[in-house]
Subunit: 131 residues, 2 copies
């Protein structure tokens, strides 16, 4: 394969969303959370390829969807009313912030932190390991 | 469930690792990449609960492992020699930076960017949605 130079734009946008003061019962329901991820991904314009979840004992859930555009995930701590979500989409056809807004609306936190970071951006020149 | 206050420490540490100038063939091998994730997770002290991957046409891979401690993932663009990995571990028994160091060694990038962010830290006071 011939290597191309990536475009100067980011390959993807990654939203890191931490939510506090959510109702505990919502955070302990793996099926509902997996559905929420799929719904949120669709609202962002992304396509779900597969969905996976794990319920921890005595409480807590991890749910993840592989997307055509990267991934969406959530990890929950029902005992704290806390959840931590990621929406990472590559390309320019998705708006991961829309997925975050929908998750915030559905998870009803008392507060949240949303950080949006560019991914796949070369912030310094390539330095060959052999030089 | 009675809600507890989370500790003032972060619930987790999230490493965002972008790699540039990797050999393309490594980035287009879903089995090898999934094995690399599981191996990297183990080196960080994490436990893999399930592993998933998807190969895109004509090239590119997404691979993800659900961990007892959150998740590890990689998305690749072999045509650019570029990969974008996440290692997110909660608790204080893991060192996600060790997983990143191993991925860097194995993926042989000419350059990389590693950002380490705390997750589940309330950076501002909770504000009730009803006030």
């Amino acid at each position: 394969m011939e290597l191309s130079e990536p475009t100067p734009q980011a390959l993807g946008t990654h939203c890191l969303l931490d939510l506090f003061g959510c109702p505990s019962d919502l955070l302990d329901d793996p099926e509902w959370l997996t559905h929420l991820l799929a719904q949120s991904a669709a609202m962002a314009g992304a396509t779900v390829l597969s969905a996976h979840h794990h319920r921890f004992e005595p409480h807590g859930v991890s749910a993840l969807c592989v997307l055509s555009e990267s991934h969406i995930s959530i990890h929950t701590w029902p005992e704290f009313g806390t959840a931590s979500a990621d929406v990472y989409t590559c390309g320019d056809s998705c708006t991961p912030q829309v997925a975050c807004a929908w998750m915030i609306e559905q998870l009803r936190p008392e507060g949240h932190d949303l950080r949006v970071v560019d991914r796949g951006v070369r912030t310094r020149p390539l330095v060959s390991a052999h030089r």
